[in-house]
Symmetry: C2
Subunit: 461 residues, 2 copies
């Protein structure tokens, strides 16, 4: 019972569809952060759920690790086969199976990307809201409990997945949830699978919520002298019940990154980018109410627009935050980390993080989904530079401890993966044991993405 014996069995099942070339394996070992290339022993592009079930059954029989792969955009190494084994690349399971416009739902395969789904929906008047920066796959977004800029209004993957089909560790195909918008029937396996990072089951189909495209959209920007003023503007806007569709905080370093990467010329001060969705009258009212609140906190250069091209340019720039941050660290690899705190603690958290990066001599951008209390720090890394690596590790460790001290979580949307395993105990305390009991009950041979969320227990090689 080894990876090698599993590969032989899989080859009997799949013939030359079991791919083992160095090129394809190396490609699936790549990542957008600073992890070394971590190739699997083989790659399979499954065609359908039944085939996934057969593959998982064989892997279970041989105790062979199996990792689901979507778009490869995860930021905590979730898609890297750290114990080897087989990568299932869902590129061929990327269909929109059904759009139910009266129910505002769509049924999709896990390899579909969010942009592909929205392109498909373009003429329906509907859209899928969850919007992390990357053009991630739907399966990967569910597995990591992703969110993004619109979560403050439309929710995260946790809020937008109604039902799942998944293959469990023994190959059983399960369906969780229904086509109804809510249920009080039995344990909530849908939410248990969402955010389980492929360690409890492999998602093979998703039923997701859609939203009606708003009649009108307004976007606004303004800048502040301090992070506190920016955050207090957000808090008061939320308390006033003004429904923001997006609200992003950029610190001075992030603004410098945008100016460098996107050739913009914003003054290097904390900025808020905000968006409102609704009727034409409502979005005008909301933008102006927001402007009034921002003025109370001495905002400068408040401006708002409903012009599509101006809005698009703004959010296109925002979506390049990852690369804009990276551009401040030429020639280096890049670490993008995230934490999430109660919004009342956000200013304190951001200011302390900035001070810590200065103290450690790092160039960290800060950009955040500030309506959720969620923010990202982006720092360059030269993995060959042991001293820098140690300072970056000290920075991210301090950031996680800070988030926990302020009553928050070590990750709002990137997940645990490999990088944050060491904080599971600090965040969850005695609950970790119950999580591991669930893992052991559902995946007794630990074949599903081993070495993620929890430390690896039984290295297969």
């Amino acid at each position: 019972m080894t990876i090698q014996s599993a590969l032989k069995a899989l080859e009997r099942l799949l013939g030359d569809r079991l791919l083992t070339s160095d090129a394809v394996c190396a490609q699936h070992g790549e990542n957008e952060t600073y992890y070394p290339n971590t190739p699997p022993d083989a790659v399979i592009f499954p065609e359908n759920t039944e085939e996934v079930s057969q593959i998982v059954k064989l892997c279970n029989l041989h105790a062979c690790p199996i990792v689901a792969y979507g778009a490869g955009t995860s930021l905590e190494a979730q898609h890297l086969p750290v114990q080897g084994g087989v990568t299932l690349d869902f590129a061929n399971m990327n269909k929109v199976l059904e759009v139910r416009d009266e129910d505002l739902t769509a049924v999709v395969q896990p390899g579909l990307t969010r942009e592909e789904l929205n392109t498909y929906l373009r003429d329906t008047g509907l859209f899928f809201s969850v919007d992390p920066g990357a053009n991630a796959s739907m399966g990967g977004m569910a597995a990591t409990r992703a969110s993004g800029t619109t979560a403050v209004r439309y929710g995260t993957m946790s809020d937008n997945v109604l039902a799942l089909e998944a293959v469990m560790a023994d190959g059983t195909i399960v369906r969780t949830g229904t086509g109804a918008r809510k249920s009080a029937s039995g344990y909530d396996l849908t939410h248990l699978l969402i955010g389980s990072e492929g360690t409890l089951g492999i998602i093979t189909e998703l039923t997701v919520k859609l939203h009606g495209q708003p009649e009108a959209i307004s976007a606004a920007t303004c800048r502040f002298d301090s992070i506190e003023d920016a955050v207090n503007t957000v808090i008061l806007t939320i308390q006033s019940g003004i429904p923001m569709a997006r609200i992003e905080l950029l610190d001075d370093v992030m603004v410098r990154g945008f100016n460098t990467y996107s050739k913009s010329d914003f003054p290097e001060k904390p900025h808020l980018f905000v968006e409102f969705h609704g009727s034409t009258a409502a979005v005008a009212e909301q933008a102006e109410s927001f402007g009034d609140i921002a003025a109370e906190f001495s905002a400068e250069a408040f401006s708002w627009t409903t012009k599509t091209e101006e809005r698009t340019a703004l959010w296109a720039m925002r979506h390049k935050a990852h690369y804009a941050s990276w551009s401040l660290n030429p020639g280096k690899k890049f670490l993008a980390t995230d934490v999430c705190v109660p919004i009342s603690k956000l200013a304190e958290a951001v200011v302390e993080a900035k001070e810590d990066s200065l103290r450690l001599g790092l160039t960290s951008t800060i950009v955040g989904h500030v309506g959720d209390g969620n923010f990202h720090c982006g720092v360059g890394i030269d993995p060959e530079d042991a001293d820098e690596l140690a300072r970056v590790e000290e920075f991210t460790d301090n950031l996680c401890k800070l988030a926990l001290r302020l009553g928050g979580t070590v990750t709002g949307e990137h997940g645990i993966g490999v990088g944050k395993i060491k904080f599971m105990e600090a965040e969850h305390g005695s609950a970790v044991g119950f999580m591991q009991a669930i893992k052991a009950a559902l995946d007794p041979n630990s074949i599903l993405n081993p070495g993620k969320i929890f430390p690896a227990t039984n290295a297969q090689r």
Copy 2:
């Protein structure tokens, strides 16, 4: 290891705070439906989490069933100790521990009722949104994944609980979730406990989301010639992105119940009751847009108001649906059941349910949270009348099968309890085995509310 040996150990711990009188036990065996009185062997009113932990540890040692009790308003017998044992009544753990107004959250104990919480919040400008008919306890609402009239706008308990403290079967105290509004850290034990009906852990503290009281509220009513017209009005309103805070469908029989019980004089036709929350301008715009859509489906007698007294009267009447339905069945017990279907199938479901009740000679009201596709049927029962009991059972069985056939769930908000165990397999298929594996992993001695969600496996007496 029996209930009796557990009681002896508990008496050593608690002295005369272990209550075993027939009166207190019978009181905790009561229910608002047609189940026979089902008393526990003893009742304890715990004072704090540490005490709950000690009690559960002893019960686990003696394999003694333990049932959490909030307000006793569950509709599927969730609070009834069907295998005897100990009832933990949380009446003394009913405090608001903290209101964090900047974060729009509150930390509460499980015995607090939702009305008590909202009374406490009255002067803060905030409110707790989840609103089932009954004045249920917060712990009970979480445990049954309750929702109610406002779920269409503000979500269910699944959406409004950020974090929990719970005592697990071995007495371990766990904390799930954090004070942050979202997290991608580890398995989602919060959602696993929500809706687990006390079978996986006993909730001892909740952190819940609050919402800002809207600047203005408008309420509207109208009536239709057919259920289809009413439902199509709702579908088009949702698709138009008009944010309804509440939208309730009442069938002709339910209207008759209200006329009887609340002395109203609505024509006995399908009605919609709807409410909008927002700015003064927005709620006027929304009510009128809704009126335009309703007119397309031949609505009669459309009227709307922002007057508090008129709105309050309307919703006070709606909240008496349980008793108004019961009033059509004088001298009988009462069964209130619920299912939830994709909204596109709602008209079909309601019409078929009505036809089935007529065929079976039953007087069933139908009232529903129609924005979610969730509706309730209320029928009188004389438990002494075997023929009627059989007809009621046929009716509810057909209703559940209908919901499943239309892609929905056998319960949108009442839960499984005892009454719907027989449909777990039909709804969840192979997923039931994984739910049971989780139950076995977390509660190996099956002491937590045994006989709920799944059939009883090891009767303790």
